[in-house]
């Protein structure tokens, strides 16, 4: 983890020949107007995504947490779905719909109307908003539900109107969650690679630019890419630290005894509330329908014809390798993540003083280091002896492990926390050795809670693109890579078909997990 990152840092401070320490790369970056714009673009995009996601997510959280609308559980389940899907696939669906040869675009064009272009910053921001709002929705509705009813009742009892209660009690109490989740959205947006690379076009952002620089510099020196990476890491880290600092300072410990009461809405209110949530969910999930429908259309390059055909699937399935790769790599990485996490958690939970600071620090890494940058770091670090992993599938597993294990470690240790040590001691006391006790009791008790988390880890690895694109080589292309390549080479038919396969691979496990335990999904989605 530290080694690859330090390699990037080192590279960024070398001159073009790679022979001496210099600030050349940074100087070049700041001097170049185009690069300066790139930095500003990233920040602008992040802010836009956070603001948009807030606008959508907060009202929805309020409706679900506090109003008596029917079908709440569906709103909650569907409203948290967008975040588990690979965001670039969603972006891709919007291209199918509104892109240059998109279904809607063509339809409008035939009517003589030129529809607004989806490419550029507004398209990217739009996709970010509708894929990242669940972060806000879930965190804020969680906060709203953890305010004990008595607090708001006390305020009312002391003579406050409904509005004043919200303004003086409720809002201050959920502000940490609002700010915290918004900062998280900001980070996720600036680090995202898949959406800007297919939708950004001439609107360049740091993650994509770092990748392009690195690729064009391969074999040469990675100074510019390194410097860009460092800037991205720095922005993300600062944001994370602000988030940590702010939340730690403002978070109030509250004991929840009674859930807050739900507000009874009139008929108009109900219709408005459901209509609003329904619309948001519709917009965020429409892309899935679009891809599904489009996958059965006849395609010629980027143009889709409204004729039913299975040709796309036939074409997509001629090369099974990417599909198998995705399944294989996700499975291996998940198993490695879970096994190591359980083991480390077990050791750490027994030494509680070490646990929290360590976990908090570890947990920051995947957010602080964007996938692309981790990929670059791993390549720089492992492309020479003593350990050469570049160009093997193992490096992909390493990268997935680095990105996902903090989340699995956190969930494993929170599960372990809930298992009282006296249960293990009872087993030892009854004559079962500590090692056997670990398998017979501890692991057995952890399993039900571990499985949903493991499935979600698997699912998010299936959709991983940003580090994979840097690290994969020839035969180890995954589904996401294959889709991206087909999109970039304007081969829309198979891209749609493969996207459907990818989405189903993600959706079915998520639905199973949802059936097993709804709260775990929320927890895990937020923590992934």
């Amino acid at each position: 983890m530290v080694y690859p990152l330090s390699s990037v840092i080192k590279a960024s401070f070398l001159n073009t020949e790679g022979t001496a320490v210099s600030l050349e790369a940074y100087a070049k970056l700041i001097a170049n107007e185009q690069y300066r714009d790139t930095i500003l673009n990233s920040i602008f995009l992040g802010l836009l995504a956070a603001a948009g996601a807030l606008t959508i997510g907060v009202p929805m959280a309020y409706v679900v947490a506090r109003c008596d609308v029917p079908g709440k559980s569906y709103i909650k389940a569907l409203g948290s779905l967008p975040i588990v899907f690979p965001s670039f696939a969603i972006g891709w669906a919007w291209i199918v719909l509104l892109g240059r040869n998109g279904l809607v675009t063509v339809w409008f064009r035939n009517l003589g109307i030129e529809s607004p272009p989806i490419y550029g910053w507004h398209g990217v921001a739009f996709v970010f908003i509708f894929t990242l709002f669940p972060v806000i929705f879930l965190m804020v509705s969680g906060a709203l539900n953890s305010i004990d009813a008595s607090l708001e009742e006390a305020a009312r009892n002391l003579g406050s109107s409904d509005f004043r209660v919200f303004y003086t009690v409720t809002l201050p109490l959920i502000t940490p969650s609002i700010v915290g989740s918004a900062l998280l959205v900001f980070i996720l947006a600036i680090e995202n690679f898949g959406v800007p690379i297919i939708l950004g076009e001439r609107f360049s952002v740091l993650s994509v630019e770092a990748y392009l620089q690195f690729m064009s510099e391969l074999g040469g020196n990675p100074a510019t890419a390194g410097a860009m990476s460092m800037i991205l890491v720095t922005i993300a880290t600062i944001t994370l630290l602000i988030q940590r600092y702010y939340v730690a300072r403002k978070e109030y410990g509250m004991s929840l005894i009674r859930l807050p009461e739900t507000k009874i809405l009139g008929r108009v209110g109900k219709i408005l509330a459901i209509g609003y949530c329904g619309l948001v969910i519709l917009i965020s999930l429409i892309p899935l329908l679009v891809i599904a429908v489009a996958s059965f259309a006849k395609a010629r390059g980027p143009v889709l014809h409204p004729e039913f055909s299975l040709a796309n699937y036939a074409k997509a399935l001629t090369n099974l390798r990417p599909i198998l790769n995705s399944y294989f790599l996700s499975t291996v990485a998940t198993i490695v993540c879970v096994l190591i996490s359980v083991f480390v958690a077990y050791v750490l939970v027994r030494r509680r003083s070490l646990l929290n600071p360590l976990l908090d620090t570890l947990f920051m890494f995947p957010y602080a280091i964007a996938g692309v940058i981790l990929g670059i770091g791993l390549i720089v670090a492992f492309n020479r002896p003593p350990l050469i992993l570049t160009g093997t599938w193992i490096i992909l597993v390493v990268s997935y492990f680095v990105r996902k294990s903090p989340a699995t470690l956190r969930s494993a240790s929170s599960i372990l926390y809930q298992i009282d040590t006296s249960i293990e001691e009872a087993s030892i006391n009854l004559g079962v050795s500590p090692l056997q006790t670990f398998f017979k009791i501890t692991l057995r008790l952890m399993a039900p809670a571990l499985i949903p988390g493991a499935i979600l880890t698997w699912v998010t690895i299936m959709g991983e693109l940003s580090s994979t694109i840097v690290l994969y080589y020839g035969p180890w292309a995954t589904m996401t890579i294959q889709i991206l390549q087909e999109i970039l080479s304007a081969d829309f038919g198979p891209a749609c078909a493969l996207s459907v396969i990818l989405v189903l691979s993600v959706l079915i496990p998520v639905m199973i997990v949802n059936k097993i335990s709804a709260p775990t999904v929320e927890q895990a989605t937020v923590s992934q």
């Binding site: 006296s422 001691e425 009872a426 006391n429 009854l430 004559g431 079962v432 006790t437 057995r444 008790l445």
Partner: protein, 365 residues
């Protein structure tokens, strides 16, 4: 036949000694209680005996066997935990059979012994239930059966009743005692509840800050506390400070001046003007009828500050004339017409018998 011997046992956490040079002997078949407030080291000591923690110095013996280096799972103790620690994923039967399976007991025998254990704790018929379907009291009975079924050399109980409600606690208490009497298993019981400790134990050790203050049977602990700490921890006690004014060698009696009363106390020997603390149980203070001008020996006058009527007992807080301390007076079976009111002036007699004298917190009479 198991006798437990603890020899100069010390267990430190960091610099703090949770258990400090403790030595104890627990007799075969005895119900022995470690009593003390939280943090006094009683649970630490129990866990050292169970083998979950290893003491820094000192030894634990079961009969003549030194068990210091035997791992917890081979010590053959049966432990009942405060939070039951029933395995949530196993049903009642499998919970109880768990230790027998680990000992590779034959299947038929396991079945027979589990059923007998269920019978013993009066839970027959619940063997297929899952723990989540059972009440706290039932879970604790399972924990007890699970510990008993392996026929442990020593039964260890760590505040087993503290999570139960008051009524159930009393019921379980007598059940546990009855079982222990029948089975004659050497039992070490940890609690912070003095009433529980007094009713259930053959003998008990009162612990304070890692050390044992006193070991005795319940009557001895209550009636003859060796230190001020034990006197204050067990039951309610009035502590009255004063100085020895005179000492009569022939009757071994000293007169202690408390400022508001002259109290005669039996004492072996004494220096004059020595500062002492008298411990008087609330039932040893008697409200007496009489005139108010002259106070007799061991008498004081005071005013009733509060009255609590508790049914079979009435308690008064009395402030002695010219003092700011409050004395607790307890009257058993109070006659309704004899109840005093707040503000009444009363005369109180301090009974000589059962008066304990402490100097520097250690008993001197």
């Amino acid at each position: 036949m198991v006798l437990v011997r603890i020899e100069n046992l010390t267990k430190k956490f960091g610099k703090m000694a949770a258990v400090d040079e403790v030595s104890l002997q627990i007799r075969d078949g005895e119900f022995f209680t470690l009593l003390g407030p939280s943090g006094c080291g009683k649970t630490t000591l129990l866990r050292c005996i169970a083998g979950f923690w290893k003491q820094d110095t000192g030894h634990v013996w079961f009969n003549d066997e030194l068990i210091d280096d035997i791992p917890a799972h081979k010590r053959g103790t049966g432990m009942v935990f405060q939070n039951y620690a029933v395995f949530p994923h196993l049903n009642v039967y499998d919970n109880i059979a768990y230790g027998l399976k680990a000992r590779k007991v034959a299947k038929a025998e396991i079945r027979e012994r589990v059923m007998r254990a269920l019978d013993l704790v009066r839970l027959s018929g619940l063997n297929r239930r899952m723990p989540s379907q059972l009440s706290g009291g039932q879970q604790q009975r399972i924990a007890l059966a699970r510990a008993l079924v392996i026929e442990p050399r020593v039964l260890l109980m760590d505040e087993p009743l503290s999570n139960l409600d008051a009524k159930l606690r009393v019921e379980m208490r007598s059940d546990i005692r009855k079982l222990q009497n029948e089975l004659k298993i050497t039992t070490i019981y940890v609690t912070h509840d003095q009433e529980e400790a007094l009713t259930i134990s053959d003998r008990l050790a009162v612990m304070n800050a890692g050390k044992v203050e006193q070991i005795d049977n319940p009557v001895g602990i209550y009636g003859n506390p060796k230190s001020r700490y034990v006197a204050s921890f067990i039951g309610q006690t009035n502590f009255i400070e004063g100085n020895i004014r005179s000492f009569d060698k022939s009757t071994s009696t000293a007169v202690v001046d408390t400022g508001y009363a002259q109290i005669q106390v039996p004492i072996a020997q004494s220096d004059a003007e020595r500062h002492v603390v008298l411990a008087v149980r609330p039932e040893k203070l008697k409200i007496v009828e009489g005139t108010w001008q002259v106070l007799g020996p061991n008498e004081l006058s005071g005013k009733i500050e509060s009255v609590s009527f508790l049914g079979s007992v009435a308690e008064y807080q009395i402030k002695p004339t010219g003092s700011t301390t409050l004395l607790l007076v307890r009257v058993h079976e109070p006659r309704p017409d004899a109840l005093r009111k707040m503000g009444d002036n009363v005369r109180v007699h301090v009974e000589r018998e059962g008066l304990l004298v402490y100097a520097k917190d250690v008993k001197v009479n």
